[in-house]
């Protein structure tokens, strides 16, 4: 099931984020992820930021493995299995994308796919500072309107990207909100959409080992993120008390998260 592929390209997206590209013929849909193995190091889940036959992952530094990935040069062999999990449904016409952290990695290809079907996209794009805004140019290039927000106000609105959601919903008409980022951020998005009738769809990250629905590492209430997700309608998450509150760590303990 695992393919060994050479890195065919490397792009520095922000000071803490790089995209690695590789050829892989398996069909994939926006929202799906792969288990990416850096031989000699860990294997970690990564959303596909490019889903064509030239695939890509966009990795933000979090800890040792993601830091290691930043230094990987083209030609390096990586292990890839998947794509796993479900995908964004491309049925809505007007979508508000709300991205925080590395969340734009999975939302950009979804937005692109929607645009390709004639859909319309506005993006609320958050980061700590201007240089960390991920895929601002890519969203613009696909014809989406981008509303940046930075913690330090170095670009766009100052403050959390979630604060843009209410005003944007008030101003425009949307069929859906797609969001990916820290769970507390996504909860704020859900809260902001409450009562507007606009459904929210979240891409969720949990600890993953098998990616196959076997090991229980990614359990989220009654769901397994690797097979039932990572894309969930907010209604389903609403029934899971631990969403936004606790996670399971690598030992399966419930920890705040």
């Amino acid at each position: 099931m695992r393919r060994i592929v050479p890195v065919s390209g490397r792009t520095v997206e922000t000071p803490t984020t790089v995209t690695l590209r590789f050829e892989d013929a398996r069909p994939a849909a926006p929202g799906q992820f792969v288990m990416l193995w850096i031989p000699g190091d860990d294997e970690i889940p990564m959303s596909l930021s490019y889903v064509g036959s030239s695939k890509g992952v966009t990795v933000k530094v979090m800890g040792p493995t993601s830091r290691h990935i930043q230094e990987i040069a083209p030609g390096t062999l990586l292990g890839v299995r998947g794509p796993y999990g479900n995908a964004f449904e491309l049925t809505p016409h007007r979508v508000l994308v709300v991205a925080g952290g590395s969340g734009a990695a999975v939302l950009a290809p979804a937005a692109e796919a929607l645009r390709a079907r004639g859909g319309e996209v506005e993006v609320a794009l958050g980061a700590t500072r201007a240089s960390e805004l991920l895929f601002e140019g890519r969203f613009a290039a696909m014809g989406a309107t981008v509303h940046p927000a930075t913690d330090d106000g170095s670009r766009g609105a100052r403050g959390f990207v979630t604060e843009l959601v209410g005003p944007l919903l008030a101003r425009g008409r949307f069929d859906a909100i797609w969001t990916c980022g820290p769970e507390v951020m996504m909860q704020k998005v859900i809260a902001a959409a409450q009562g507007t009738g606009v459904p929210v769809v979240c891409s969720v990250e949990r600890w993953m080992k098998c990616g196959l629905g076997l090991c229980d590492a990614c359990a989220l209430g009654p769901y397994h993120v690797c097979v039932d997700g990572p894309v969930f309608p907010a209604e389903r998450l609403g029934a899971v008390p631990e969403f936004g509150r606790t996670k399971h760590d690598a030992a399966g303990r419930r920890v705040p998260g």
């Binding site: 060994i4 080992k209 196959l212 076997l214 090991c215 229980d216 590492a217 030992a251 399966g252």
Partner: protein, 319 residues
């Protein structure tokens, strides 16, 4: 048109099971919600992840390697939340009505006994002793391949619990019957067989093992013939009941185990291949097959393959 008439219920180690299909340890069993979900999907009972004294993260990824449907290699490394935190998971599962069997692992008889006693408090219906993990140093099959250790561990646990104790044995041995007899002497109420076979996969381009731990455990269809041989031999060698595990994907696979002597079976890798709904399918298909074969009760199948052995005219060791 009428539904299946076959009675799928079975008894093993004092447990009354609505059907013979148990969720195998290590699959879905880390959280209470998952245990409950597997029971709701149709399992006759669910076995927890093997629980140890301390929380363990297990080995780093990669921890799994899948061959086409016929085999699966893993070295999770016994990740588990530890005995202090795990009772809340059992409470969640039991809250959902699941029949839960608690699995434990340890380094020695005292550790097993302590864990068994602790789990007994949680309301599990039975204990399964993981004497058989093939890839964790000083745990699992390293303790589980020595009959006297198996006997001591079993006895130590039996002394500290009122629950039935199931000894889960390793196939990585030359004589699983000796291990089963040791567990029986130690007071086990049942044997389950088998855990995974020690295995390895190497990536040819990277020139390295594909699992971070190197060695792993093989499960899935590839090990079904081995599991069947073990159950068949153990059935003849002990009086306590046997639970079959290894490579069960279909009702016919389960039937093979029942005919070899198992009173119930555990299902693991099938969940990765066919999802948790595999339990519903197995239950439905077993009923259908039993109707087709004219068998009314699971009971009537157990060990039936031994009736014909050795077959007439087939000396066991000619010349």
């Amino acid at each position: 048109m009428h539904g299946p008439v076959a009675d799928l219920s079975t008894r093993v180690a004092g447990l009354e099971l609505r059907n013979p299909f148990l969720l195998a340890s290590g699959i879905w069993g880390e959280t209470g919600e998952s245990l409950r979900g597997a029971y709701e999907a149709g399992a006759g009972g669910v076995i927890t992840k093997s629980i140890g004294r301390e929380p363990r993260t297990g080995y780093p990824n990669p921890t799994v390697e899948m061959y086409d449907r016929w085999g699966f290699l893993n070295a999770m490394g016994l990740p588990n939340p530890g005995i202090a935190e795990y009772p809340r998971e059992i409470a969640i599962a039991r809250g959902g009505g699941a029949l839960v069997i608690g699995s434990v692992f340890g380094h020695d008889a005292e550790e097993f006994a302590e864990l068994g006693a602790a789990l007994t408090e949680t309301g599990v219906a039975a204990l399964e002793l993981n004497l058989s993990c093939p890839h964790a140093e000083g745990l699992g099959s390293e303790v589980g391949s020595d009959p006297s250790a198996v006997e001591d561990i079993t006895r130590a646990v039996v002394r500290r619990t009122k629950l039935p104790v199931i000894a889960k044995l390793t196939p990585n041995t030359h004589d699983i019957v000796a291990l089963a007899q040791a567990a029986e002497r130690g007071g086990a109420s049942a044997i389950s067989a088998i855990n995974t076979l020690r295995g390895l996969a190497i990536d040819v381009r990277l020139q390295r093992p594909t699992l971070s731990h190197g060695l792993g455990g093989l499960s899935g269809p590839a090990i079904k013939p081995v599991g069947l041989a073990c159950v068949y031999q153990v059935f003849r060698g002990v009086r306590i009941p046997v639970i079959g595990v290894g490579g069960i994907l279909t009702a016919d696979d389960a039937l093979e185990y029942l005919l070899a002597g198992a009173r119930a079976v555990e299902v693991g890798t099938a969940v990765a291949l066919d999802g948790i709904r595999v339990f519903g399918t197995l239950v439905r298909e077993l009923g259908r097959r039993m109707d087709e074969l004219g068998v009314r009760r699971v009971e009537d199948l157990i060990g039936a393959a031994h009736r014909s052995d050795p077959p007439p005219g087939a000396p066991r060791d000619p010349l």
